[in-house]
């Protein structure tokens, strides 16, 4: 099963086995990782599952769909490493992915 590492804002890091096909957001919510709120439940409608992807992973993730960048405009302190974790689906190719969670989501 692919392993995803979530780094909390305080630096605390957890590596979790996440079933392929789930989103990085679902992996966090199902494992009670703090800091990923996902208020809209994965509908790309709220920007509260915002994460920063570790640099070396940036180009290896599937490209952003229309609308994700628009939604990221509303996230807390977005930058070029920003993604909405509900839009990143876990697969074997993403085994080892590292994401950092912002200080807050709103």
């Amino acid at each position: 099963m692919p392993k995803i590492t979530y780094i909390e804002n305080g630096g605390n890091s957890q590596t979790i086995d996440v079933t392929s096909g789930l989103s990085v957001m679902e992996g966090a919510v199902q494992n009670d990782i703090p800091g990923i709120d996902a208020d809209c439940g994965g509908g790309m409608a709220c920007a509260t599952c915002h994460v920063y992807v570790k640099e070396e992973w940036l180009d290896r993730l599937p490209k952003k769909e229309d609308g994700e960048e628009d939604m990221l405009d509303m996230a807390y302190e977005p930058n070029k490493f920003s993604r909405l974790s509900c839009q990143v689906l876990v697969s074997d190719e993403l085994d080892g992915l590292v994401v950092s969670i912002p200080l807050k989501q709103g």
Binding site: D37, D39, C40, G41, G43, A45, C46, A47, T48, E69, D70, D73, M74, Y76, E77, P78, N79, K80, L103, K104, G106
Partner: protein, 338 residues
Amino acid sequence: MIKTDTLIIGAGPVGLFCVHQLGIIGLKCEVVDNLDKIGGQCIELYPDKPIYDIPAVPECTGEELTNNLIKQIKTFKTKFHLNERVEEIKKVEKKWHIKTNKGTEFEVSSIIIAAGVGSFEPRKFSTRDADKYEGKQILYSIKDKKIFKEKTVTIFGGGDSALDWAIELSNTSKVILVHRRDEFRGMQASIDKVNQLKEEGKIEVYTKSQLSSVQGKEKIENINIKNDDESIKKVKTDYVLGFFGLIMKLGPITEWDLNLDKKTIPVNTENFETNKEGIFAIGDICTYPGKLKLILSGFHEGALAARGCFKYAKPDEKYRFEFTTSSKTVKGRLGVKE
């Protein structure tokens, strides 16, 4: 003080259908919502997106669903208090007293919380000290545009609100528009207009930039705008406007001594009552074993919660189940002419 049977908090689809369910069993209610319009997430987050899992409605948008729900409850002439947020609730003998942020007061026998993920509020600047100037020089909505006349206004954001105000205010103010990337996401006509005004020197535009700091004492004197390339531009400005859309916040609900499980309120599945007698929770905000965050589940929860409210509103009467197809009483309440 407004006296009614039930107060519904939240005018989303679940709150709206609950108005219907209260209405057909003969209870009166009013609705409070912090948004400026009826419809909740359906109207604010996805008015144009199709929904495919409303029973007997193969496909509809958030806006169509809202309009149909409004039509379905029209006969009850329910009063909606929009742009208002419930702040305090207090038990006074057998009634609940409720106060909103605008000072409206209610006395009811039950409360139904259908507040989704909380009330919609503007997203704010995260910059240090930005809250110090909020409501004075840093604003997230515009009540009176006259205050900007002949002043310098720096607008942050890349959507329609930011673009529309940049265009509008450029007639009478010096406008600086700042966005975190070089693509705007508003209507094409607005983007074209902003570009034209930029060419004409009527709007200054900084893209790939964000607010990095605010400087001043009593008043803001300068702000620093940081570009992605780390360079900083110091700007003298009178007002700073932020248009970053809305975020949902649970807000005062957390202070009402209700049991909470993360951002949801545990309820029983018999009538969706919370740990407080006479307070019910339905829709996305409630939780119980097997809870699904679906609109259709919220409709069911509202139907049962409405019946739960009955005994508080009419303690001396016995609730009798009736079908809308056959009951004369119910048809009367619906205003159906036979």
